[in-house]
């Protein structure tokens, strides 16, 4: 490496490190200070907690005065059930759209792709009316139905691209053996879609877990709130209690960060794969 190349590589890393710090700094700051006593939060906000400043008082307060565990389990149920249904129904629809020739298939594919671009949120007034008249208001089912409808278009789009890449011989061979179509899908095609799942998951899980709008309009009781809404309301009430606010923020951040760090390789591979070209 010449001196000039070394200098260039150094400056590139300098820019990237600076931006990385800007990206994680605010998050680290919040999480770090959530483990401190109040005086240290204000006195030395940039210092790591040490033996004299360490405290879990914020976390204790959050556990005592909010239903944080209920919120967690609600978010988990809603996200996992929605994701499972989006994957199952999305893969089935993608298979039918790519595999079978029928009149109106192009029109149907176009109809399904409207939802990729047009936000379902704009139909909120009617969604709320429907859920009220169906008696689903303030239930997790209402949220799941809306999120499945929201996630399907993108998952059908991505999974269709994947299914097209599966070699034709595989299913033709199965067909010659007289295997029924449903078994071809569930036993031959579906297992091959495994790599696509991470991609679809990025586009499904993240917006659902983080959504504020639909929990805000569709749920009204503590027992049905999700983490995002619960923390939002908790923060609104306790905005002057810095220990609790920082603890509540950290508790909402940490699970996402842990899952992200564990899965980041797959998630990024999914994002940068051909599916979103």
């Amino acid at each position: 490496m010449t001196a000039e190349q070394r200098a260039r590589s150094f400056s590139v890393h300098l820019v990237l490190i600076a931006y990385s710090l800007l990206a994680v700094g605010p998050i680290l700051l919040v999480v770090m200070n959530s483990f401190k006593v109040r005086s240290a939060i204000f006195g030395s906000p940039l210092a790591l907690p040490d033996a004299t400043t360490f405290s879990l008082v914020g976390y204790e307060k959050v556990f005592r005065s909010s239903h944080i565990l209920t919120y967690y389990s609600n978010s988990l149920i809603v996200t996992l059930v929605s994701m499972a249904l989006v994957l199952l129904f999305g893969a089935m629809a993608a298979w039918a759209l790519t595999e079978y020739r029928f009149r109106g298939s192009t029109a149907l594919a176009l109809f399904l792709s409207i939802g990729i671009m047009v936000p379902i949120r704009l139909g909120s007034v009617a969604i709320l009316n429907m859920m009220r008249s169906a008696g689903l208001n303030d239930t997790l089912t209402a949220l799941i139905l809306v999120y499945v409808a929201q996630g399907l278009p993108m998952s059908i789009f991505i999974l269709s691209e994947f299914i097209q890449q599966i070699p034709k011989d595989l299913r033709d061979a199965a067909r010659c053996d007289g295997v029924p179509e449903t078994r071809i899908f569930f036993e031959v095609v579906a297992p091959l879609l495994r790599p696509a799942i991470a991609t679809v998951a990025v586009f499904t899980i993240v917006p659902i877990w983080n959504d504020l709008w639909f929990p805000l309009i569709l749920t009204s009781s503590d027992s049905t709130h999700t983490v995002t809404l619960g923390v939002q309301q908790f923060l609104g009430q306790y905005i002057t209690d810095w220990n609790s606010v920082l603890a509540a923020l950290s508790m909402a951040i940490l699970p996402v960060v842990i899952i992200y760090v564990v899965l980041s390789r797959q998630l990024i591979a999914g994002l940068t794969s051909g599916a979103v070209k």
Partner: protein, 305 residues
């Protein structure tokens, strides 16, 4: 394949997806638009009024002033994203795709992290960081000798909207970065090698060869930004509440829709007017999408290959 068998298979495979999607996505959109042509009296009965709600929204001073304010603010919100988020995203993608860069996986993971977090969390965290009470932002500026620049940016009418837009940029810069990075990786090696043999440096290769080739992705990113920005709500609501203070300086269409639909301290919720606002938002997004499809994408198809 016999007709009846095909119909059965289609019903089995497509039925659930099409039913849920139609019932909970398309039908509500259409029903909301239909509802925007009705009005309701205090008893709850509904009357058809044609386009009267839209006349009220755009003509009546009580409605039109906040509406135009929200639309104007939304345009500023979008402009900040286009001028700051997308250039930073392109620059970071350009750096990350440099050949032989070490630790690129680490950088990518870290830079994409904010995008994974809930907007609510991001909003509150920045609210705390920028708060004069805590003094972290003021202290950081003082440390680099810019202490006099600090102001309670989120609290001032003049700066609150731009500050919130920049917070949103900070969070979502990962999306253009990743999409453009993926597009850059797909450029054939031979093209770049040929340019290098011709003696072009990294900068000129980037601006004259790589950038024109990823223009389709950049325009896709722009339209995604447009749709997301004109549908934004969570950040303003979590930092500023439904009233989008100070004095509606941060009110965008999403918060205006929420207040119209649900009401707040100052007004009662009004589902039919809320539907009218949602319908207008729908048409704004539709116009943006059509401009993209008919002007941008067609031209790119014609010139790119």
């Amino acid at each position: 394949m016999p007709r009846a068998k095909l119909a059965g298979l289609l019903l089995f495979f497509l039925g659930p997806a099409v039913a849920i999607y139609t019932l909970f996505s398309i039908y509500p959109l259409v029903a909301t638009m239909a509802l925007s042509t009705y009005t309701s009296d205090p008893s709850g009965a509904r009357y058809f009024v044609g386009l009267a709600n839209f006349e009220t929204l755009l003509g009546d001073a009580l409605w039109s002033k906040p509406f135009w304010n929200a639309l104007g603010n939304n345009l500023i919100f979008f402009a900040v994203h286009m001028c700051v988020q997308n250039p930073i995203g392109i620059a970071l993608a350009g750096l990350l795709s440099l050949p032989g860069l070490r630790f690129k996986g680490f950088y990518r993971t870290v830079m994409f992290l904010p995008t994974m977090l809930s907007v609510v969390i991001v909003g509150f965290s920045w609210n705390l960081i920028l708060s004069p009470l805590w003094g972290v932002a003021a202290g950081a500026l003082k440390a680099v000798g810019l202490g006099s620049l600090f102001a309670p940016w989120l609290g001032l009418e003049s700066s609150a909207l731009v500050t919130l837009s920049l917070i949103s940029v900070w969070q979502f810069v990962g999306i253009p970065m990743m999409l453009i990075y993926a597009a850059l990786l797909n450029i054939p090696e031979e093209l770049i090698d040929a340019a290098r043999v011709d003696g072009l440096g990294h900068f000129r290769i980037f601006f004259h060869i790589k950038l024109p080739l990823v223009l389709p992705t950049i325009s896709l990113v722009s339209v995604l930004t447009f749709v997301a920005n004109f549908n934004a709500f969570d950040l303003i609501y979590s930092v500023k509440g439904a009233l989008a203070g100070p004095n509606f300086a941060t009110d965008i269409l999403g918060t205006f829709f929420y207040r119209t639909f649900f009401g707040n301290q100052l007004q009662l919720g009004n589902p039919t007017m809320g539907s009218a606002v949602a319908t207008v938002m729908f048409f704004i997004i539709l116009v943006g999408l059509c401009l993209y499809l008919f002007l941008v994408q067609r031209r790119i198809r014609r010139y790119a290959f």
